[in-house]
Symmetry: C2
Subunit: 251 residues, 2 copies
């Protein structure tokens, strides 16, 4: 399972050899991008998608007064921009966080592939829907969880998203976000991010150093966050049972 995109999709759909090789081809020309590189700009006409193979991407909005809010993080195996042919202009910018390996694809090509490979198409659509679920959960985090739980919730979610695609080793995962990045994700000040992280450390819920994050006791972290994994729609573990069979029939 070299390709994290395939791994992600396989969580929910049973890919055959051809599906896999199609994905392999699509991502063959992936490119390594340095930290903080802008891949798309707010207001751009969106005609390509991005697939993350390693590292993190962020989708962000810039407010009039210069503040930044990261509206979504993308981890390895995740894609963005499939649906976002919002006609006129992209709502958010996309940039790398830390070093990342990214495939940039013309959307048309991907749509073509989806027309030919229904299973793949179902898997890709499921990815879009999961991303939307994550948005909703994120809204409730921002609206109703305090800084501590919000941070715990995010870290645990990333853990699940990565490990669901088999990218989270026993010793944790690479975590290139600076505390400033985190503050833009979590909607709080850098200083407060720092304090919250410290509390999580003291309580033995996270180990974070040198760009690597380990969760010694995920269940306890989940409890601290008030985490309910239902919104990730990963219940179909084992991979054997393709849950999304009905999805291919979208118009």
């Amino acid at each position: 399972m070299a390709n994290p995109w395939a791994a992600k999709i396989s969580q929910v759909v049973k890919l055959d050899e051809q599906d896999r090789s199609v994905l392999e081809n699509l991502t063959a020309r992936a490119v390594s991008v340095e930290p903080g590189r802008t891949l798309a700009r707010q207001g751009d006409r969106p005609d390509q998608m991005h697939v993350v193979l390693q590292g993190f991407l962020a989708r962000y909005k810039i407010l009039g007064d210069g503040q930044r809010q990261i509206v979504s993080l993308l981890v390895a195996g995740e894609a963005c921009g499939l649906q976002a042919y919002t006609l006129d202009a992209l709502d958010y910018g996309v940039c790398s966080i830390g070093e990342a390996l990214v495939a940039t694809l013309p959307r048309q090509e991907v749509l073509g592939v989806m027309a030919r490979r229904p299973t793949l198409a179902a898997g890709l659509r499921w990815g879009e829907l999961q991303a939307e679920s994550i948005l909703w959960e994120w809204i409730t985090s921002l609206g109703r969880r305090n800084a501590y739980r919000r941070a715990a919730h995010l870290l645990h979610e990333l853990h699940l998203r990565l490990s669901a695609a088999g990218l989270d080793g026993e010793d944790g995962y690479d975590f290139p976000l600076t505390q400033m990045d985190l503050s833009d994700v979590l909607g709080m000040s850098v200083v407060h991010v720092n304090r919250v992280l410290q509390r999580l450390r003291e309580e033995g819920l996270i180990v974070l150093r040198q760009g690597r994050l380990t969760l010694p006791d995920p269940p306890r972290l989940a409890a601290a966050a008030g985490f309910d994994a239902a919104y990730l729609h990963l219940d179909c573990r084992g991979g054997a049972r393709p849950v999304a069979s009905g999805m291919a029939c979208q118009t």
Copy 2:
């Protein structure tokens, strides 16, 4: 333009007579629902969509500790649940706020219509995308705007969403949200909602009484909110120019 759903879609796509009558038929069996009625429950298997013809619906999540966060408001002309066949379970509940007129449709039927009427399909997809845009903007509101701007932003956005569909009279629009509802939308306490509304009133930015909201000076309200309407993707005013022509070709 009796049908607000058609009006909404017409903002972006040129409907012919048949399209209109199809929409008319779909919404023929609309039902009036009393305030606070639950239309769908978090965790339900989602196989139907809802279209709002009058009033407001809310999509909400309930946290473990009983708190509620409204993740999205739906106004007349808007639909929900088209994409949300998240396979296993609905991420949010849907309920009415105030009295509302709602059409509940089997999703299959709508998908069938979309297959036959590409223009309509494009319009419906545009609606989904706009809804997603709104989510992103809402995340940045929750993360980066203070209570005052957040409230101003919401009220102005609703004004635009309604007036874009021609449902906002010169004297404002019906506004059935209680301050408690607002607190669940805005992610703040009821008391603070009250204070923020008062400030907006004192400054002459809103007039709100007896379930009716008037914006005496929308531009000033927009300025107070730091509002940038780009995210609503309404730039294509006039209705004559169908911007979404390219959209019909989604797989």
